[in-house]
């Protein structure tokens, strides 16, 4: 919202005050002011009033005229002018030689053979309106040669307040409310509004009015007519323009002016169309044509202003085309009302039609304002148009009063909340300057909230703290730390684990951490042939490409791998992120925090990559939990999984997740030549695993015995199991030293290292263990080859 300092000065004496400083103070104490502040009139200088004395057509140009103008000097000035509206006797704005308009300094200038000693200006050229149809037509009685800036309020400082920062301040949607804040900040008095005395019209008839719906809080109206002025006074038009509104005609301008001044939207109907004003909702939906000519769908929730049963306006949003003022309108009905803010807001959203009026109504306007606004309207109307007449008495139905809020607190409350010392006198003075009623007994305050702040904004004691402190100024606060007892701070296991996992993956395995989205991007999934699996869905995404939440990070990660195939021939990425695995029994999303890893290589075979990944996972478990992993073959159930080598990952009895190879068809779409393996584990489940800790064992001082055994077996698992079953404390280390395949099958050579902490082992006791292992395997038809190598 644009604010004119001239307008503010109507209500506060700002003489001797640095206005720029005041604006920045306003920004710090009340509402955000945009950075750019407009110094209106700064860019024009030396513009005077001129009277056109003669007009001749240019002999060679159809557009140009040769004028002689009186600018209050001894001689008339020759001017070449292209405006269509020139006429003898017309007064206009004139840029004399040496005058400045923006970057241009006016000098004698030859136009089609004739020299022009100055320039007649349009309102647009002077920045006073967007009217460029012709030169400015001054109808006020002014002597030629007078500086235009002394006639009209051209010089002004205009600043823009961020509308968002006014969301909770219905009182600041007009200049008068802003002036109240400025007055409080400047320590000056706020002048009362100059209004007409409406009681003189009491003997006139009332308008037939009835509020039939609680969504209308107050409806005030008045009839008037006999309007003789059609164009608004220049100063009024300048203010409207400076504040971002186009001047239209006097009546429209006046209602807009009132809205900008008081924040109260107003509407004027043709009285013939509103003989029986009824405010209500309709049972059935219908279409209604607003004054902008658009047919709008009205439903049973939309509050309407009606003439009897005929709707004439959408309450608080826009008038209807049928009740608009037309050429033969002689009597007008002025509406000044307040409506339920939420209802207006909902209707605005439903109609997707936001107007200057609805924007204000949405904020919960002060119902006390409606009548004052009418009185102010009548004052301005009759001041400007001496012939205008009020033709009804004020008709006012006040159905819903604003809440009377009074708040009690003491100085200790203020001290505790602020943490600083603010004098009682300062508190009283501040609150009074903002219109609050304050009484103080000792250190006890009793505060009553003014109507314009009571509709929703100020309701609790903490709101009063804000009023006191913002005017006091946060820059003036003495700041200090809080005194609080000390306690150790422990991090959640999940957090610590997550950090350590990331560190290991980044630092030890040179992996890159990525973030992706919690939903599937349909086009990306489709490009890779990854199925979008049924899951919880977004119901209102504006982007049609997203809807279904992901059940796993793996597919979103594969989309990102695809994006990076030109990055390097080998890379590894991971993400710690969240997934949703459908709904839980209680109907809430089954959300999990997961770690997903993908290894990508153009140089390595899938098997090598697969075991690299397996070892990485094993290191994470060993490093963070001092536990080993076990695996269990699983069936592929997702489109991105390869049917083979999919394994469930277990650690200390917890199912952590799965690792596998990327499905061939998906992998080929990512990169025809690269190997890709992935794993996904549940971070929350991982965090549940207790750290087994470090079990220190002193190395034996006695010699070790090393034994190599070769078995013919397809897998290592039974061998590991047999060694485990041997349950021998003397085995200090087990390793696989060789594997190979020949006609007899796969051969696995293991090396066992035996030692005893207190003595030298005998061959016999070691062989006893070895034989137990070998015979258990023998039973499973796994043969020991080449005997025992010691």
């Amino acid at each position: 919202m644009l604010i004119s300092m001239n307008w503010i000065s109507d209500f506060v004496d700002l003489s001797g005050i640095d206005k720029m400083k005041l604006i920045s103070q306003f920004s710090l104490s009340t509402a955000e002011v945009e950075n750019e502040i407009f110094h209106k009139g700064n860019d024009i200088e030396g513009i005077v009033v001129a009277e056109i004395r003669s007009v001749e057509d240019h002999p060679e140009s159809r557009k140009l005229h040769l004028l002689k103008v009186d600018i209050g000097e001894s001689e008339l000035v020759d001017v070449v002018c292209g405006a269509p509206n020139v006429r003898v006797g017309m007064k206009t704005a004139f840029a004399k030689l040496g005058a400045r308009i923006g970057e241009i300094t006016i000098a004698p200038r030859k136009l089609a053979g004739y020299t022009s000693f100055g320039m007649c200006c349009s309102e647009k050229e002077l920045g006073l309106s967007d009217n460029n149809d012709g030169i400015m037509d001054i109808t006020d009685d002014v002597v030629p040669g007078t500086d235009l800036k002394s006639v009209y309020d051209i010089d002004d400082i205009v600043f823009e307040v961020d509308n968002k920062s006014l969301t909770n301040r219905p009182d600041l949607w007009g200049h008068y409310g802003i002036a109240r804040e400025i007055a409080a900040l400047a320590g000056r008095d706020l002048k009362p509004l100059d209004t007409a005395d409406l009681s003189v019209y009491e003997r006139l008839d009332k308008i037939d009015l009835k509020i039939e719906d609680p969504l209308c809080q107050r409806y005030s109206c008045l009839q008037f007519g006999n309007i003789s002025v059609h164009k608004s006074p220049v100063n009024m038009r300048i203010r409207l323009y400076y504040c971002g509104m186009r001047a239209l005609n006097f009546l429209a301008d006046l209602t807009n002016y009132l809205m900008l001044e008081m924040g109260q939207p107003m509407h004027a109907f043709d009285s013939r169309k509103v003989e029986k004003i009824r405010i209500k909702r309709f049972d059935k939906p219908f279409t209604f044509r607003t004054l902008d000519g658009v047919d709008r769908p009205i439903d049973e929730n939309t509050l309407m202003i009606c003439n009897g049963d005929t709707p004439v306006a959408i309450a608080g949003i826009m008038g209807g085309l049928d009740s608009e003022i037309v050429e033969d309108t002689s009597s007008l009905t002025l509406e000044s009302a307040t409506f339920d803010a939420a209802s207006i807001r909902k209707s605005t959203v439903r109609l997707s039609h936001r107007t200057d009026a609805s924007m204000r109504y949405e904020k919960s306007l002060d119902p006390e304002m409606t009548v004052v606004a009418v009185a102010r309207f009548v004052k301005l109307l009759t001041d400007i148009d001496g012939q205008a007449q009020v033709t009804s008495s004020l008709t006012d139905e006040y159905a819903y009063h604003y809440p009377q809020v009074s708040l009690n607190f003491n100085k200790a409350f203020v001290d505790r909340y602020t943490g600083i010392e603010i004098e009682n006198d300062t508190i009283v003075k501040t609150l009074r300057s903002l219109g609050f009623g304050v009484s103080l007994k000792g250190d006890d305050f009793s505060v009553s909230v003014p109507s314009w702040r009571a509709t929703k904004d100020v309701t609790i004691k903490a709101d009063i703290i804000e009023e006191i402190t913002r005017i006091y100024g946060y820059d003036n606060f003495d700041v200090h730390t809080a005194a609080a007892p000390l306690y150790p701070v422990r991090s959640a296991q999940e957090k610590t684990d997550e950090d350590r996992i990331k560190d290991t993956l980044v630092k030890r395995y040179s992996m890159h951490e990525l973030h992706s989205y919690i939903w599937a991007y349909y086009d990306e999934y489709r490009a890779l042939g990854i199925e979008i699996e049924n899951n919880v869905e977004l119901i209102n995404a504006t982007n049609p490409n997203i809807k279904t939440l992901r059940r796993s990070i793996v597919p979103t990660q594969l989309c990102q791998v695809k994006y990076n195939t030109s990055y390097d021939s080998d890379f590894a990425v991971f993400e710690v992120g969240r997934v949703v695995d459908g709904l839980r029994a209680d109907g809430l999303c089954d959300e999990h925090k997961k770690l997903a890893i993908t290894l990508y290589s153009k140089n390595k075979e899938t098997e090598q990559l697969y075991f690299e990944l397996r070892d990485i996972l094993a290191v994470l478990a060993d490093d963070i939990k001092h536990e080993a992993l076990t695996f269990e073959r699983a069936e592929a159930t997702h489109s991105y999984q390869h049917p083979k080598n999919l394994n469930k990952i277990f650690c200390a009895g917890h199912l952590l997740g799965e690792m596998g190879i990327v499905n061939t068809s998906v992998a080929k779409k990512i990169d025809k030549k690269a190997a890709m393996v992935y794993a996904e584990i549940d971070i929350e489940e991982f965090a549940k695993i207790k750290n087994a800790g470090i079990l220190y064992a002193e190395p034996s001082k006695f010699p070790e015995i090393e034994i190599d055994l070769s078995f013919v077996s397809d897998t290592y698992a039974p061998i590991a199991q047999a060694i485990k079953n041997a349950d021998c404390a003397l085995i200090k280390n087990i390793s696989v030293v060789d594997t190979y395949k020949d006609d007899n099958g796969r051969s696995i050579t293991i090396r066992l290292i035996f030692s005893h902490p207190e003595r030298t082992l005998t061959k016999e006791e070691v062989l006893e263990v070895v034989n137990r292992i070998a015979s258990e395997l023998e039973e499973k038809n796994i043969k020991l080859k080449n005997g025992v190598q010691m």
Partner: protein, 350 residues
């Protein structure tokens, strides 16, 4: 007989002179002092000598034997030395000017700034909390004093889910749970609630270089008996000075957020110009950084805390924005793009 020893000695010395390898040396050793070596053979000739001569000759042969032994040992050492020198000389000179190969991973920039912030707050006694991304209307709005139809809901375009839940629009959605979690410790043990909760938030809006539908925030709260606006300003200034590693000026402006009262917009002195005014702060000298305020009494109440007895402050820091400011990332979409060309640059940064 001394001629004989002299003869053998001279022959030995000349043979030793010619030795170049360990093998030659061993051969000579065997040749002279092996079981059948020349020196050993000399001793056999003693049988024919008188006792007197035996003594003299025996001594001379022993001297020779020791001499040969020592000379061989010396030569062996010299050969070893020579070999090491040879090996040393075979080592080529490396070209250290070749560029280094950096095989290293990277953290997501959000992880980096999040860790920096966490560390600062941990050092000030705050716990770090984690929270789900999918929350209820109650968590995200109702419990934060944003009832249905509140205009504040318009400011946050929310992604709603078909089960009635929603993707959290703000980390404040964790406030209620955190108050409830620590309420008893606050009331019964007098432990102030000091917590931060970083997390991912979502807004249903179109994306461009400055807007993302998925971004990170970090919320912080402190609740105790006498937490004041003055404390809030102190903590914000201290924390932000630590984050940016320089003395930051802060200023508060009134800001409207339903879950705080009073609510503030916090600005910091421009990091580029220090407050003089430059294009990056639109010549104002200030950057709008984070909303904050005193926790609204209704919000405390919803968390089971009596607002008459306790007060607190809350703030919300945009981690994504912070990361962009800190590292000069211009397009917010780069962060979730997965582009390694962008993201591999973010190595550890403590």
């Amino acid at each position: 007989m001394s001629e004989k020893t002299t003869e053998v000695r001279l022959a030995f010395l000349s043979a030793l002179e010619a030795v170049e390898t360990a093998e030659d040396l061993e051969r000579i050793r065997v040749e002279y002092i092996g079981k059948k070596g020349y020196v050993t053979e000399l001793l056999k000739e003693m049988k024919s000598l008188s006792n007197e001569e035996k003594k003299t000759f025996g001594q001379a042969v022993n001297v020779l034997k020791n001499e040969v032994n020592d000379a061989i040992a010396e030569k062996r050492e010299a050969l070893k030395q020579k070999e090491i020198e040879l090996e040393n000389s075979r080592m080529p000179e490396f070209d250290i000017s070749m560029p280094a190969t950096l095989s290293r991973g990277s953290y997501h920039p959000i992880t980096l700034v999040q860790r920096q912030c966490e560390e600062i707050f941990r050092s000030m006694g705050f716990t770090v909390e984690d929270y789900s991304e999918i929350v209820s209307d109650y968590e995200c709005f109702e419990s934060l004093n944003i009832p249905k139809n509140h205009p504040a809901r318009d400011m946050q375009d929310t992604y709603y889910l078909d089960n009635g839940q929603l993707l959290k629009t703000q980390t404040s959605a964790a406030q209620n749970t955190i108050y409830k979690k620590y309420r008893d410790q606050l009331v019964n043990e007098g432990k102030p609630i000091k917590a931060i909760f970083p997390g991912r938030c979502f807004r249903n809006e179109a994306t461009d270089a400055c807007h993302e539908n998925t971004f990170f925030q970090m919320e912080g709260v402190m609740v105790d008996k006498n937490i004041s606006i003055s404390n809030l300003i102190f903590f914000m200034k201290t924390m932000l000075s630590e984050v940016f590693q320089k003395d930051i000026k802060v200023r508060l402006r009134p800001g409207f957020f339903p879950f705080v009262e009073p609510g503030f917009e916090l600005d910091i002195s421009c990091l580029i110009c220090g407050g003089e005014g430059c294009p990056s702060c639109k010549h104002s000298g200030w950057l709008e950084l984070c909303p904050c305020g005193m926790i609204h009494p209704e919000v405390l109440k919803a968390g089971g805390i009596d607002p008459e007895e306790y007060t607190g402050f809350a703030f919300g820091l945009g981690l994504t924005r912070l990361a962009m400011m800190k590292y000069g990332v211009k397009d917010i979409r780069d962060l979730n793009s997965g582009s390694l060309k962008c993201l591999d640059q973010f190595t550890d940064d403590k």
